[in-house]
């Protein structure tokens, strides 16, 4: 595998992680970021009250929800997203190339 072609993307991913960590660390105290409910949550809270969050029924327990540290969650999320997207797009590229070669 030619790792040189991944050097730049990996460096950018590292920068994205650093930027996210910095955003979380200083964004909330500075007021650039907010933990207030988003648009959909605001609509649901305004109509159903705060309790709707506790009464939610989920037949699935989200797999990674036990990660309570937001820094760790952000880093794992970024790495997981990158890996999944790259694997899926390489697979699609492989299928497309095979299809092109057959025809």
């Amino acid at each position: 595998m030619d790792f040189i072609q991944y050097k730049r993307p990996i460096m950018i991913i590292a920068l994205v992680i650093i930027a996210l960590v910095l955003m979380i660390a200083i964004g909330f105290p500075l007021g650039i970021l907010s933990q207030n409910p988003d648009g959909l949550e605001r609509v649901l809270i305004d109509y159903n009250g705060e309790s709707w969050l506790e009464n939610l029924f989920s037949p699935w327990t989200p797999f990674l929800v036990w990660i309570e540290n937001e820094y760790l969650a952000g880093i794992i999320g970024i790495i997981l997203t990158t890996v999944v997207i790259v694997v899926v797009f390489y697979f699609i590229a492989f299928l497309k190339r095979r299809r092109r070669e057959k025809s």
Binding site: Q5, Y6, R8, P9, I10, I12, I13, V16, I17, A19, L20, M23, I24, G27, G31, I32, L33, S34, Q35, N36, P37, D38, G39, L40, R42, V43, L44, D46, Y47, N48, L56, F57, S58, P59, W60, P62, F63, L64, V65, I67, A73, G74, G77, I78, L80, T81, T82, V83, V84, I85, V86, V88, F89, Y90, I92, A93, K96, R97
Partner: protein, 223 residues
């Protein structure tokens, strides 16, 4: 705009899942631009980087008015870079990972992908195309035209997605339809401003640093 599990009725869940799966299958066959060139696979690591950026931006909320916040969805942004069909797959995979963290339901993934991928991505992209046609009559530089069109397209697609999301939660009975639709649209009139600005800045940045990563110039009709 991530709908959690347990909110939508079965019919809405099934119908939206079916639509999303069918559009993704169609998208696979129509997703030509990303893999048209022989060396296009070299761009795949950068698609991963783009997804990481979208995930990071969706992870953090910016404040708007009256104790409410918003976050980037990125559907139109990804569509302008990779094309509308590839954007749907990217958004779907990001939403899958977010649902594992409890941000948006796993069963409601079809609805969330419909709102943020189909409306936010595909519909948003064609809004951008429409505004590009208008701006092509001006003498602005191409990167400025794409940046402005992306800002407007991102803004309008978020409002449209919030309108559809309002209908979905209204039909499900979580909030009456006559309340859910206007309030969802009201909040996203403000949230969409952030979406438009962030998307436009990222597009402008890519044009300045790696312009060949914008794969849709021919579809956008960039002149």
């Amino acid at each position: 705009m991530h709908i959690p599990d347990g909110f939508l009725d079965l019919m809405t869940i099934v119908v939206l899942w079916l639509i999303v799966v069918l559009v993704m299958i169609l998208g696979y066959f129509k997703m030509g631009k990303v893999f048209q060139k022989e060396d296009s696979e070299k761009l795949i690591p950068y698609i991963g980087v783009l997804a990481a950026v979208i995930f990071a931006f969706q992870f953090v909320n910016y404040p708007i008015l009256w104790g409410t916040s918003g976050h980037l969805v990125g559907g139109t942004l990804v569509a302008v870079i990779l094309g509308p069909w590839a954007s749907l797959i990217v958004l779907f995979l990001i939403l899958v990972i977010q649902s594992f963290f409890g941000d948006g339901g796993i069963i409601a993934l079809g609805a969330n992908t419909f709102n943020m991928g189909v409306i936010g991505g595909i519909v948003g992209f064609y809004i951008v195309v429409f505004f590009m046609k208008l701006l092509n009559r001006t003498s602005l530089k191409k990167e400025v035209k794409v940046t402005i069109s992306t800002a407007i397209g991102s803004y309008l697609s978020i409002i449209l997605a919030s309108f559809v999301c309002g209908i979905e939660i209204g039909i499900a009975g979580a909030v009456p339809l006559d309340i859910s639709v206007p309030t969802m649209v009201f909040w996203h009139l403000f949230i969409g401003i952030g979406e438009g600005i962030i998307s436009a800045l990222i597009i402008f940045f890519i044009y300045k640093t790696k312009p060949n990563f914008i794969l849709t110039e021919s579809i956008l009709g960039v002149e």
